[in-house]
């Protein structure tokens, strides 16, 4: 009897702790909004999101983050252009083509890629890649959108690759065998059967990879150039949202307009990634592989 009481108590204890993640997430939201919303006393939402000029310390100041959003979006998309094909192809290679022994070697490499600290990648982009592409393309500055995208692609490939690989791996064997039995080559099986069957997982992987690129700070802080302008070419310097926060937070006086504006940028960033994650979650929940009948 007493043991069962203890058991109940322990269970509620565990539940309480398990709720911590939700609590933390809510606290993050509460504080972002608490510190970010006061900026709306100075500008309205439309001016904030669609304003073209970011001059937070002028008197009067301008708090328009359109150029920063454009910077973030462009950098993320360009990095996706590089990372999505590479990530998925690597995943297919690992799951379908490589022999187990080769896969045993390649997988840790992908994991090590994921573990390389972002500041090191940013540093590499700044001191090695920037002078290199400056000479290679004969452009005025090496710290630009292209450089940052390249480094971000490197960071999102492991996410895209390992999640896609899981998805491909979980495609039922019977599907593959049926395809072979119909006379399809291995490649045709991959393209026409395996990839469509794992498409929801691959989509989730891509979304999470892009979400990681969007939220990454150090790389865009060090390699993107930091100009708050609307980019017109891939060799323009940009100032993505996280870079703005990181560069200016230290110098923004506590609870000044600038401070609130930076938290508001944090809200925008949070909302972006939150939506990305919800979509990814929805896709993986809705289209999860249930048996072999789900095709």
């Amino acid at each position: 009897m007493k043991r069962q009481h203890i058991d109940k108590g322990v269970q509620s204890g565990f539940l309480l702790v398990a709720l911590f993640s939700i609590t933390a997430l809510s606290l993050i939201m509460v504080f972002l909004f608490m510190e970010g919303l006061p900026i709306l006393e100075h500008v309205n939402i439309k001016e904030f999101i669609f304003g073209k000029y970011w001059y937070p310390t002028d008197d009067p100041a301008d708090f328009g983050i359109l150029a920063l959003i454009a910077g973030s979006v462009c950098v993320t998309l360009l990095s996706g252009l590089m990372a999505i094909p590479l990530g998925i192809m690597t995943a297919v290679y690992l799951a379908e083509i490589a022999s187990p022994r080769v896969a045993e070697i390649v997988k840790p490499i992908v994991e090590l890629m994921a573990s390389l600290p972002s500041v090191v990648i940013g540093f590499f982009g700044m001191v090695v890649v920037a002078p290199f592409i400056q000479k290679l393309f004969n452009i005025p500055v090496g710290l630009n959108m292209f450089n940052a995208s390249l480094m971000l692609a490197f960071m999102s490939i492991p996410t895209i690759c390992s999640l896609s690989e899981d998805a491909i791996f979980s495609v039922p064997r019977a599907l593959k065998e049926a395809s072979f039995a119909l006379g399809a080559t291995h490649f045709e099986t991959i393209v026409k059967v395996i990839i469509p069957a794992s498409l929801s997982g691959i989509c989730t992987a891509v979304i999470l990879g892009l979400s990681r690129a969007l939220g990454e700070t150090m790389v865009v802080l060090m390699a993107a150039g930091g100009a708050a302008m609307m980019p017109t070419s891939i060799f323009d310097p940009v100032r993505p949202l996280p870079a703005s926060i990181a560069a200016e937070m230290a110098e923004a006086p506590f609870r000044s307009e600038h401070y609130h504006a930076l938290f508001a940028i944090g809200i925008v960033l949070f909302v972006f990634t939150f939506i990305f994650n919800l979509i990814a979650d929805y896709i993986s929940y809705k289209f999860r592989q249930v048996g072999e009948a789900s095709l």
Partner: protein, 270 residues
């Protein structure tokens, strides 16, 4: 043993005055321009007073003054004087910030060392940073796109640049921004078409200082007031300093301290 260690030891021997023994912690925050001075002084001061622990962080002038008002730092570095807004804020919190001018500094426009331009006018500088002048040939240089490099908007150096060069007008959005003087040096050194501005102490090999209205930025032209872009560097304390804070400030304002100011590349007061 390198020369700095020797210097520290000689300082220890030369100074017979041993300060009040207050095992204390000094927190210094603020302008990156003052940082090299604060760092040199902190190293020397700690060598002299092993019981004092000094921690330093950057963060810009606004942050330095703010830290004093909030009480999160003992000394706030600033590369500009306190603003009326900040004085008012301090007043509402019952804090009386005390300024100490510890050095002078000139902000010098710099270009890549291979750039042929040696002299610009203040108006040309402004037009370059406004984006009206886009090519080096417009300021009698070799044709090529001008890459404008500026500082983050809340840095004190930027503030002075904005007051004295831009006359409160806005730097073009396409200007690259870097977080520090050192960052500008590096960016200008690596970018053939770049122009930037740094404190006098940061002039180094890869970059070339440009004369403004025919006057080169130097210790002399700053002290006699002929160089147009100069300023004082300050340390602020909350109320009149005591103990180690006073000790540290007196150290910087001593002959030894001012030598370190010079070593850090700024202009000593005397």
């Amino acid at each position: 043993m390198n020369k700095y260690t020797e210097l520290f030891i000689s300082i220890i021997f030369l100074l017979t005055v041993s300060s009040t023994v207050f095992a204390g912690e000094l927190v210094i925050k603020g302008s990156t321009t003052v940082l090299p001075i604060a760092q040199k002084a902190a190293e020397a001061y700690m060598a002299e007073h092993p019981d004092v622990k000094i921690s330093l962080s950057g963060g810009g002038s606004g942050n330095g003054i703010k830290a004093i008002i909030d009480g999160t730092a003992n000394i706030g570095n600033a590369s500009r004087f306190i603003k009326q807004k900040e004085v008012n804020l301090a007043g509402t919190k019952g804090v009386y910030p005390v300024p100490f001018r510890i050095a002078l500094d000139a902000i010098v426009p710099v270009v890549n060392k291979n750039n042929a331009v040696t002299d610009v006018t203040l108006t040309q500088l402004k037009d370059i940073y406004l984006g009206k002048i886009k090519d080096w040939k417009e300021v009698s240089g070799t044709p090529g796109k001008i890459v404008v490099i500026s500082r983050d908007s809340s840095s004190g150096t930027f503030g002075v640049w904005k007051d004295l060069v831009m006359k409160k007008e806005r730097v073009i959005p396409s200007a690259l921004t870097v977080p520090s003087n050192g960052g500008i040096v590096q960016a200008v050194a690596n970018t053939p078409g770049a122009i930037g501005y740094v404190g006098l102490g940061y002039l180094s090999d890869g970059i070339k200082a440009v004369k403004v209205d025919g006057i080169a930025g130097s210790e002399e032209s700053t002290l006699n007031g002929s160089f147009p872009i100069s300023r004082g560097l300050f340390m602020f304390t909350k109320g009149w300093p005591t103990g180690d804070i006073m000790g540290f400030l007196s150290f910087i304002l001593s002959k030894k301290g001012q030598d370190l100011v010079k070593e850090a590349g700024s202009i000593p007061l005397f």
